[in-house]
Symmetry: C2
Subunit: 356 residues, 2 copies
């Protein structure tokens, strides 16, 4: 019997400075990730930020007293309202940019950050080069539906995606759904405004033709409408970063509006108040279910290294969950399968005439 090659662990850089709850919550998340076994015996975690501060915070957690925890100094912090391009110019010493530089240099396999989404997408796209066969990365969000969850991508990395780039989103999202949702053969739908052929314009029609031409290389179920996404139509909803970002933000806005309306109604009327107290567990459940990125992280797929965005308001559980999702996405040879799928997709693009 041949001895199996020892499994090489994964190395993750955690940008500890960008979250709303500050570095103490990020360090607590790191401790939780070790305690819960999210970070395996072969994996290492690099805490990036004000090193003295991070070392002091880490000393409070027994789970972090081990050689798999490393530190990297970064002098500045990306603020939540920093303009993306300004970050690349004037905050090269920030924890976000330094973590991305480590990924670019191959020192780590993934970056997890709670920082400013737009800055992370811009800096991630520019600093970390696209995977072979990919042109632009796509941000993939996990969204709730009646039963379980689905993945929507792109939610904001590439606003004006071409048909080939939408096809890339489909294959990358399909592989990510395998690790993130545990679905062996995820159903892929193309978001559009009408399910008859010819609706949605030439860009959607060309993408539809490419997806059909993929044959059994992808489990394409056809065009889906906005109405279908919360049903059981598909597991991966493919769209461009303009539409996807607007949907995500609009849904968030609606959820907050409902929460505020429930809150103000409950306070305004004694009947509602009595009901509200009894309903509290239900409202809490609903709020949890409807919170975007509840699962903790949205990866920027299609780069040579994995960049994982965690919600800015994430607590330790949320950040630990983003670390888990990142490690799962790195595992099972996902990177290798993504390269294979992108090559298949590009062969289909080349072989499918424009007026298919």
């Amino acid at each position: 019997m041949t001895e199996a090659t020892p499994k090489k662990g994964h190395r993750i850089a955690l940008d500890c400075m960008g979250g709303d709850m500050g570095p103490s919550e990020a360090v607590a998340a790191a401790a939780l990730a070790f305690k819960d076994g999210i970070i395996g015996p072969d994996d290492t975690l690099v805490l990036v930020g004000h090193e003295d501060n991070l070392r002091m915070l880490a000393s409070d957690h027994r789970a972090l007293k081990n050689s798999r925890v490393l530190f990297r100094q970064a002098a500045s912090i990306v603020a939540s309202d920093d303009a993306p391009m300004a970050v690349l110019k004037s905050k090269r010493d920030s924890s976000m940019v330094i973590a991305l530089e480590m990924l670019k240099a191959g020192e780590v396999d993934a970056v997890v950050s709670t920082g400013n989404t737009k800055a992370l997408v811009a800096a991630g796209t520019i600093k970390v080069r696209p995977m072979e066969g990919a042109e632009r990365p796509a941000l993939a969000a996990i969204m709730p539906r009646r039963e379980g969850h689905f993945i929507m991508l792109d939610v904001g990395a590439n606003p004006e995606a071409t048909p080939a780039q939408l096809l890339h989103n489909a294959v990358l999202g399909s592989i990510y759904a395998q690790s993130a949702l545990g679905i062996a053969r995820p159903r892929v739908g193309l978001l559009t405004v009408g399910t008859e052929e010819g609706k949605g314009g030439p860009r959607i029609n060309r993408t539809h033709a490419l997806l059909k031409a993929m044959g059994d290389k992808i489990n394409y179920v056809g065009p889906v409408e906005g109405f279908d996404v919360f049903g059981d139509a598909c597991d991966v909803v493919v769209t461009d970063g303009f539409t996807g970002n607007i949907i995500l933000k609009t849904l968030e806005g609606l959820v907050y509006m409902v929460r505020d309306m429930v809150g103000s109604k409950v306070k305004s009327n004694p009947v509602y108040l009595a009901g509200g107290i009894a309903m509290f567990p239900l409202l809490r459940d609903l709020k949890g279910k409807l919170k975007p990125e509840r699962y903790g992280g949205a990866p920027l797929l299609g780069l040579t290294g994995l960049v994982m965005k965690a919600h800015g308001s994430s607590n330790r559980q949320g950040i630990a969950s983003a670390i888990r999702l990142g490690l799962e996405a790195l595992g099972h040879g996902a990177g290798h399968r993504m390269l294979t799928s992108l090559a298949e997709a590009n062969a289909v693009v080349a072989a499918t005439p424009e007026e298919a």
Copy 2:
């Protein structure tokens, strides 16, 4: 003192056959519109559908026994799943197409229909010609926000709008907001993915430049993100028909999901059940507030005649409300102001260099 020209009333054709609740509800809506004074003393209403049936139904309503109620025979009905192009080819004798033909011929000033949205948009666009200065119509939906309502357009008529067409949407939506929301100087926002200049691609940038170049001819407040629309950022949200339709459908899907989740949670647990009973009025209020097109109608703006879409599930109040919105949109010289604004907009398009 010169005698004022007697006010010429408006003529509305009501497609009575397309709604989920059938012609009896449409006829009851007509009666309600007369009873409530929505239809004024100078206005006339034409009921379009199976004439014998409509006359019989009308005979049950005293409010319809007057000379301002007319009937027009139509032999067939557009079904909710008829493909738009098939309707134009094979259902030329349907109540929807006949009502649109009356509008095209100048026999009426507006059509109100509860029929299949896609068929109505396609048939309305093709049968009724664009207003001078407009290229494509836009469907304008009234949406709820924390306080009051806002208008979003286009929600599905023109999926791939050019910058000039987005500018047309802005001026038409602005005038419609005056009549539908009663706001003298509606704030107009351009929906995009980031509020810095340069985000959202060249199409959004060009539209932004055109809107700025309009000066005080429009109350443009700048780019808005999905997150802002339920706040108080603006009264008119301008977008293309692809994005707008997907947002509208996705929000509807979410609202139905929340309703189902609340329903199933309430049934599954006695604590929730007790709370649910007490909360019932609140849930009903929320459902009403979140129901798209609660106001009853979405006009297809930018055509020579007004086509007003009412929700397929509208009851008599909903249909009467669509008739009211249609008459309000026709009043106050809105058509004339739309022509003036479109001419101003086109002058700005011609005068604004591509790289403004």
